[in-house]
């Protein structure tokens, strides 16, 4: 019972915190440099791991699918299957998991340490709202970065699949691309994937900044909060993926 009350209390605090963040976002468009700085540390610095992971996921996907498809003589559909797997599921989900591990944990640790070293209190005493100046730019940067990273993950994954499927395994290049053109629908597949990544970006960024802001301001507290960010974000992304998939493809 105590555990349930604790979870509900945190959920309540998190929701109030989210409304504060959202109310601070309109002001950010007047000081967009704050967001640009965070886009670099949250988005650009996550680019490398996203691209490398995307490349290998695409390559492995091509290998696996090629051997399965070859038993049916349907290797020409390799491009289409890789593309659908990536833009519908793997792109948004794996990119979000990587984002939670790389950027989400960094956001929580940074905000938690700012709390532990009284930097957030210092801002409050300077009559500067830390939610507006520190939290909201990081949240918005995460929200903007996530769909872009998911798109890059899928694009690099398709290139990885092309290099393995076409260059290594001998699938026809024209068939690879024409199957994608013919069978992948922009609204049903690409657009739904973008929606998923937007939702995941919102969830991961929210969890990351809340855990940092709500942490116990000690080294152990920051460490626990960082772990919670990765665990809770990953679970939330996977759970939400099921819900969104069920709604989108019913």
């Amino acid at each position: 019972m105590k555990g349930i009350i604790h979870i509900l209390a945190r959920l309540g605090r998190g929701s109030i915190f989210l409304t504060k963040i959202l109310s601070g976002i309109p002001q950010l468009f007047l000081r967009f440099s704050l967001v640009v700085q965070q886009l670099y540390s949250v988005g650009v610095k996550t680019l490398f791991i996203t691209m490398v992971a995307g490349l290998f996921v695409g390559m492995v996907l091509a290998l696996q699918l090629y051997y399965t498809l070859s038993t049916f003589g349907a290797t020409d559909t390799l491009g289409m299957l890789v593309d659908l797997s990536l833009v519908r599921e793997l792109g948004p989900v794996v990119a979000a998991l990587l984002f939670a591990g790389r950027a989400g944990s960094a956001l929580t640790a940074e905000i938690g340490l700012m709390k532990a070293t009284e930097q957030l209190s210092g801002l409050e005493m300077m009559a500067v709202d830390p939610v507006d100046r520190i939290i909201a730019p990081r949240f918005l940067a995460g929200f903007i970065s996530m769909p872009l990273l998911a798109g890059i993950f899928s694009a690099v994954g398709i290139l990885g699949a092309y290099s393995v499927g076409v260059d290594l395994l001998g699938v026809d290049s024209g068939a690879f691309w024409s199957q994608i053109q013919a069978k992948v629908d922009f609204y049903d597949d690409v657009f739904n994937g973008i929606i998923k990544s937007i939702v995941f970006g919102f969830i991961v960024s929210w969890i990351a900044v809340f855990e940092g802001y709500d942490c116990i301001p000690t080294s152990e507290g920051v460490s626990s909060a960082t772990t919670r960010t990765v665990v809770n974000s990953s679970l939330a992304v996977l759970g939400m993926d099921f819900v969104l998939t069920a709604i989108m493809y019913q």
Binding site: T117, G122, E124, M125, D129
Partner: protein, 267 residues
């Protein structure tokens, strides 16, 4: 005695079951350096946070410059905070900004001054704390004493009416300590500030304080001018100022006696 800038009336504050303040009354007078002293864990820093409106009391009121801090709207509270400076124990400098940008931060946030004016003001504030040549350093490159001096310069950036110092002398070497003592005293006089110094460094704090308040076990156990405190024969005052291990503040943490605890273990 000058008029009171801060009036604390019947202040009650608890953290969970732990009662921190149990009906405190206190006046902080304009233009004076008031030392708030007491054993560790008595809520000295908490009191500063209550005065700054970062915490809400369970009961009672804190009036600063005629305004009841905890009845102000958010914008009114922020307006009042622009007139309050606070020096945190850790300095609380923003670690991603250099010394210059840390001091310029409140000026950029709250004024429309030109860049050249901001530069002049920042350098003047840094000169006042003896660090005008350190403006390009990052906080990680500063010693503890330097970080507190930079934090003092930042607290002075908006020319506040009062400054709250949270344990300014803790962990300082004798030279840094002497510099901080001198700076607190001189800035208070030169800028006609009202200063509250929270500390348990008796000698240094008493050397600059005009008024002294001693807090213990949720109450103000003694208050008066520095002279009155030095001449006081109150057991509270004597234990604290003379650093006696036992007295009204017990040496042993309250609870079962050692005999009872040992017997419990056996059972």
């Amino acid at each position: 005695m000058t008029q009171a800038l801060i009036q604390i009336r019947n202040l009650h504050f608890s953290r969970g079951q732990n009662k921190i303040f149990d009906g405190i009354d206190m006046d902080i007078h304009v233009g004076r350096i008031t030392a708030i002293m007491g054993p560790s864990g008595t809520g000295k820093t908490t009191l500063l946070k209550l005065i700054g409106g970062q915490l809400r009391p369970d009961d009672g009121e804190i009036i600063v410059d005629g305004l009841n801090v905890h009845q102000l709207s958010r914008s009114e509270l922020y307006k009042l905070r622009k007139k309050m400076g606070m020096l945190f124990q850790s300095g609380a400098l923003l670690t991603d900004l250099n010394v210059f940008e840390n001091i310029a931060y409140p000026l950029r946030e709250h004024t429309n001054l030109s860049e050249s004016m901001i530069r002049s003001m920042v350098l003047i504030k840094l000169q006042a704390v003896g660090l005008s040549t350190a403006h390009g350093l990052m906080p990680a490159q500063l010693s503890g004493g330097m970080a507190r001096r930079v934090a003092l310069a930042r607290a002075l950036a908006l020319d506040p009416m009062m400054i709250m110092y949270d344990e300014p002398f803790t962990g300082q070497d004798p030279i840094s300590l002497g510099v901080l003592v001198k700076l607190i005293c001189e800035t208070n006089k030169a800028l006609k500030l009202t200063s509250i110094v929270v500390s348990h460094d008796v000698e240094e704090t008493l050397s600059i304080a005009d008024d002294v308040k001693i807090i213990s076990q949720g109450k103000v156990v003694a208050q008066g001018t520095k002279k009155e405190m030095e001449n006081s024969d109150s057991a509270w005052v004597r234990q604290f100022l003379d650093g006696q291990a036992d007295g009204p503040v017990p040496f042993h943490y309250p609870g079962d006696s050692i005999e009872q605890q040992l017997l419990q273990d056996v059972r």
